[in-house]
């Protein structure tokens, strides 16, 4: 039985595993990242599979940036200023991000923003 007023607290669910039904949105694919590879090559296989989804995700962040700053200046800042900080970020993560930008075609500034979003989001 579901309480029809926020916070919609349900009775404790049971028998939900193995996952199925309306709360199950799908299984998660496994990939291997080979840490013996150069950092810029490690994510290539995974990103090649997921690049369209990544492009859509990054576009959603850009739409958000444009909603916040309609002039487009924020988006320009992301694409021009963020790449300048790539070599201040710790190795090997900076190299891995460069490899992700290359493999996906997503501008480096947007890959960096996606990866530091936790700190940025606290704003």
């Amino acid at each position: 039985s579901l309480q029809y007023v926020p916070p919609y607290t349900e009775d404790c669910r049971t028998g939900m595993y193995p996952p199925s039904g309306p709360t199950f949105g799908g299984a998660v694919t496994w990939y291997t990242v080979n840490l013996d590879l150069p950092p810029s090559k490690r994510w290539t296989e995974l990103i090649t599979d997921k690049k369209n989804d990544l492009i859509i995700m990054v576009q959603a962040i850009k739409d958000l940036a444009d909603a916040l700053v309609p002039s487009g200046r924020l988006e320009e800042l992301i694409d021009q200023a963020l790449p300048l900080m790539i070599d201040t970020l710790p190795y090997p993560f900076n190299e891995e991000m460069k490899g992700i930008a290359t493999a996906s075609g997503v501008p480096l500034g947007e890959v960096i923003l996606f990866n530091i979003f936790y700190e940025v989001f606290t704003v």
């Binding site: 926020p6 916070p7 669910r13 996952p19 995974l46 599979d49 995700m57 996606f114 704003v123």
Partner: protein, 253 residues
């Protein structure tokens, strides 16, 4: 987010989490859902990080994100992180970074470094407790021995009121949402109380991966921001993840 580590009567540790993200970042009126979680779900992947042909650690990631939010070093420790809000927040850390004061760590690079390089629960706990951060965070850490689980509440510079399992005192699980464990959660966003109610109703005798998944499937612990659920069993080296959906009526957060 809701993260928990529970110990079953045999001393096995189960670490599980709902990853909730994307609050106030755009609402899709047509689908009655948040924009960002909908875009993140197709990016959810499980990754086996290998070196010299053997597993170093496993994680659930968003493709394109090189840091770690959910991971396990098989037979050693498990780690999840939840967002912590504080006025002394990430924007200050970023400002310091831009001004050249770079003695802090970006949160997700720290968790990645710990999962890749730490060799024990104790070492992971020390690194997560003592490393200066750019932004505050909760780290939820599970080990591979009875009693090894803790909630590490971090400001940018300090570890505040660490909370550990205490089986003798009846604390057989630790659970963290997005509020300091010594404070009452915001009443508009209290996912802690329903989650603890269901854990207590389950009891330690019946805790398992299956019943933990039930808890994480109960609204509002499951909500419109929930992108995935991950279940980890360190002693079996097993990590499994599932994309989540929260059918209406469902809390937006």
């Amino acid at each position: 987010c809701t993260s928990l580590v529970a110990e079953d009567p045999e001393g096995n540790l189960i670490h599980a989490r709902n990853l909730d993200f994307g609050l106030f970042l755009g609402w899709d009126k047509k689908n009655h859902s948040w924009v960002i979680p909908d875009k993140l779900k197709p990016l959810v992947v499980n990754v086996d990080f290998r070196r010299n042909n053997s597993t170093v650690f496993k994680s659930t990631n968003f493709a394109g994100y090189v840091g770690m939010l959910t991971g396990m070093q098989p037979n050693s420790f498990t780690l999840t992180m939840n967002e912590r809000f504080s006025l002394d927040g990430g924007y200050i850390g970023i400002l310091e970074w831009i001004l050249g004061k770079r003695d802090g760590m970006w949160m997700s690079f720290l968790t990645r470094s710990v999962l890749e390089n730490a060799t024990s629960y104790a070492q992971a706990q020390k690194l997560l407790s003592d490393t200066k951060l750019l932004a505050p965070a909760y780290f939820i850490l599970g080990g591979n021995q009875t009693g090894e689980a803790s909630i590490i509440t971090r400001s940018r510079t300090h570890n505040l009121n660490p909370l550990e399992l205490d089986i003798k005192q009846g604390r057989w699980y630790v659970l963290e949402t997005n509020y300091d464990h010594w404070k009452t959660p915001l009443f508009l966003d209290d996912r802690r109380t329903p989650a603890m109610k269901c854990m207590n109703q389950t009891t330690q005798a019946n805790i398992s991966v299956q019943t933990v998944y039930d808890v994480l499937s109960t609204k509002p612990v499951l909500n419109k921001l929930t992108t995935y659920t991950t279940l980890m069993q360190v002693s079996k080296g097993k990590l499994e993840s599932f994309i989540r959906v929260c059918p209406n009526p469902c809390m937006p957060w």
